[in-house]
């Protein structure tokens, strides 16, 4: 038995997949997407949401996992992500985003586009942004299904933006609510399957040798 790099990558991915199969990632994403339209409508809630997300969410997730996940499949702490090093590529991307925001604000200021234009194309932008998490999850789990999810989110974003019958202000809300509901239901279904598939395992006293 040898243990090459690919074997180790596969073991790491399997550990990540184990942790993902309870549906909590999907359910959490669904909830965030469902809350988003509210945050857009009432920006006063944004700081509350950020504080809740940063300080309370990790705690709540851990409480949930201790109660439902670890007793069934065991506990695993995956490796912490190292912050990306500031390479020329990353600097260029950041610069490009800044430039795009400045151009957008300028065109808005001179009246070339209006806020309805921005509302209309927001689902497309968000659809493209969602490629990021999709690629990340594909890399972490090795499952190609995340490509499909990223593609679907992108295509549906473009489709909603191009659907003239949907009022511009509602395009983003439709997009978020549709995907949020989908992910929430998917997460709950996966959770129920997880609970059924994995009963609680009793850990015997240490030191038992057959």
């Amino acid at each position: 038995m040898t243990m090459n790099e690919q074997d180790l990558v596969e073991i790491e991915r399997k550990s990540y997949r184990e942790l993902m199969q309870d549906g909590s990632t999907e359910a959490l994403l669904g909830l965030i997407l469902l809350v988003f339209p509210g945050l857009i409508a009432e920006s006063g809630f944004v700081p509350i949401f950020v504080v809740f997300y940063i300080f309370f969410m990790p705690y709540l997730i851990e409480v949930y996992r201790k109660r439902y996940v670890y007793p069934r499949i065991g506990y695993v702490k995956v490796k912490e992500e190292e912050p990306p090093k500031l390479t020329l590529g990353i600097a260029m991307v950041v610069l490009l985003i800044f430039a795009a925001v400045i151009v957008l604000l300028y065109t808005l200021w001179i009246g070339l586009i209006d806020r309805f234009f921005i509302w209309r194309w927001l689902p497309t932008v968000f659809g493209f942004i969602m490629w990021g998490p999709s690629l990340y999850l594909k890399e972490k789990t090795g499952q190609n299904r995340y490509y499909l999810l990223g593609t679907l989110m992108m295509i549906s974003g473009v489709a909603i933006s191009l659907t003239i019958s949907i009022p511009a202000e509602l395009a983003m809300i439709y997009y978020m609510v549709s995907w949020g509901s989908f992910f929430l239901v998917l997460g709950l279904v996966r959770f129920l399957l997880f609970i059924r598939m994995y009963p609680v395992i009793e850990e015997p006293e240490d030191g038992i040798v057959e």
């Binding site: 243990m3 073991i11 399997k14 184990e18 670890y70 506990y75 912490e80 850990e203």
Partner: protein, 103 residues
């Protein structure tokens, strides 16, 4: 083969045992795991895992932490830096051995 000394090709027998290799590889790719997770991933029984765990702990390759979760004992395992280095060395030794074999 002749260019490599015996020291270069010394394989760590503690890691080379298939069950312990599985344990070491699993611990190498994560921060830490508990007994249940490791048992499921390696396919070892409680007794087997417990016995291999003791050997690796004696060699200071792994760190075993015992705590309570909902008043039940909960065993957490983690690779020590000594264990991590030993595993890296084991892999590089095997690489050398296989690289030097004739096609």
């Amino acid at each position: 083969m002749a260019l490599l000394s015996n020291d270069d090709l010394e394989i760590d027998k503690l890691i080379h045992e298939p069950a312990r290799l599985k344990i070491m590889a699993q611990l190498y790719v994560v921060e830490e795991v508990d007994f249940i997770f490791l048992m499921r991933q390696t396919g070892l029984t409680w007794g087997n895992l417990s016995s291999h765990m003791s050997k690796l702990e004696e060699a200071e390759y792994i760190e075993v932490r015992k705590e309570f979760l909902d008043k039940k004992p909960h065993t957490i395992l983690k690779l020590t830096s000594k264990g991590r280095d030993a595993f890296k060395k084991y892999r590089s030794t095997l690489d050398k051995v296989f690289k030097d074999l004739p096609q």
